[in-house]
Amino acid sequence: MSWVRQAVIVLKKDALLEWRGRSRFVSVLLFGVVTLLLFSFAVGPDSSALRAGAAGFLVLALLLSSTLGLAESFRLEQEDRGLEGLLLVPVEPLAIFYGKALGSTLLLLVLAPVLVPIALVLYAVELDWLSLGQLLGIWLLAAAGLSAPGTLYAAMTSRLRSQDVVLPVLLFPLVVPVLLGSVKAMALALAGDPMEQMRSWLLLLAGFDVIYWSLCGVLFPFAIEEG
């Protein structure tokens, strides 16, 4: 059976579980919202500082949500060794990787329509349609960039006792380029881009995505088979 079809089934399964545990989606979302709120408390009422940081806060909320979502997704796999069950069927490890990574990307995409408006309102940013489009494009690239290495590391750390904490430790430094790239690009989208710098940041993001979606796919089978 082609691993692509298996990947789709894995994705559908995860989506169903997600839907059943709506609670989880709601709380990831809520976590994002609260993070945005907290940032505005933290930085205080100075709205120009807030506006300057808006892109950064948005991306951080995205990052934290992605870590939580992935950790949880693999926790479900470990509960009654569901993942092992998949491998025994057998499901190609590649199918598991791309199914999960795509699922994570989609989950993060669904956050955009909620988090972005909230951030815009909270941080008093005004936006035209073009910039909004750019923003969502950047969001997509960033979500993809976080999902691929995130899936790989979540799969490894889900077998460790302290996954929730080890995962961010490994993942955060790795995704700093994604973070930097998307913060810079978003800031340009929000504030205007007189010097045409956006392209280079988008290229960075796209390059990162391509590299990690292939590299992590190659490495995932090794990660998951380690008993």
Binding site: L170, P177, S200, L219
Partner: protein, 230 residues
């Protein structure tokens, strides 16, 4: 035998470091704009080069250790990473001192500096990961994977100054440098390379022995009783 060769390389390294540093400190001319602080370059750049080299070696060893699960790969990979992390830390410290002297700040979120810092965190993270995994085989596989994933940052450290505008200097070539500066730089590079090889070898051996110590022999084989089945 092997041990004495590696020890020899280390000793030659130390000797070269003394010679190179002497030339760098007392023979080479001071730089036009930065003056005497610039002499920190004679350790800064070799540290950077050898750190990048060490991580590259770790990358190759990681691929090897995924390919065939021989223990040797893993031990050497750990040695290389540890060496790289130490050199990377030195690089950061030296760089910060230099930055304070010439740019007036300890730190700046410049791409070169940022990517170098990330490189340190990534590989230190791998060493941390290793300490969390009690099972040797899993430790080997996972740290190899993490090394390959982390290595993507290394070319970025090297090329970032060309791709983005940066405070930090872009690579020069021997043609654009005063020959009096090139010589101590070359000597010190080989010196630090020698010391790094010695250090990596020591750490690899330690890792190897650690793993050996974990590996108790299996109990003596019990006799198997075989009863015919009618």
């Amino acid at each position: 035998m092997k041990r004495s060769i590696v020890g020899g390389i280390g000793l030659v390294g130390v000797a070269l470091l003394l010679v190179g540093s002497y030339i760098g400190l007392f023979v080479a001319p001071p730089e036009r704009h930065m003056g005497e602080v610039q002499r920190i370059m004679y350790v800064h750049v070799p540290c950077a080069w050898v750190a990048l080299l060490a991580f590259t070696a770790a990358f190759v060893l990681a691929i090897g250790s995924l390919w065939s699960d021989r223990e040797g790969w893993d031990a050497w990979m750990t040695g290389a990473i540890e060496t790289g992390v130490v050199l990377n830390a030195l690089l950061l410290v030296q760089g910060m001192i230099w930055a304070r002297a010439t740019w007036g700040v300890w730190w700046d979120w410049d791409v070169r500096l940022t990517t170098s810092l990330i490189m340190a965190l990534l590989f230190a993270g791998i060493l941390a990961l290793r300490s969390f995994i009690p099972e040797a085989e899993r430790r080997q596989t996972w740290s190899a994977i993490a090394t390959i994933v982390a290595y993507v940052d290394v070319p970025l450290v090297y090329f970032c100054v060309r791709w983005w505008r940066s405070l930090h200097q872009v690579q020069s070539t021997p043609d654009t440098m005063d020959p009096a500066m090139v010589l101590p730089l070359r000597i010190n590079s080989f010196a630090i390379l020698g010391i790094a090889i010695w250090f990596a070898w020591q750490r690899a051996r330690l890792e190897f022995e650690r793993r050996r110590a974990e590996a108790v022999d299996p109990p003596a084989a019990l006799p198997v009783e075989e009863v015919e089945i009618a």
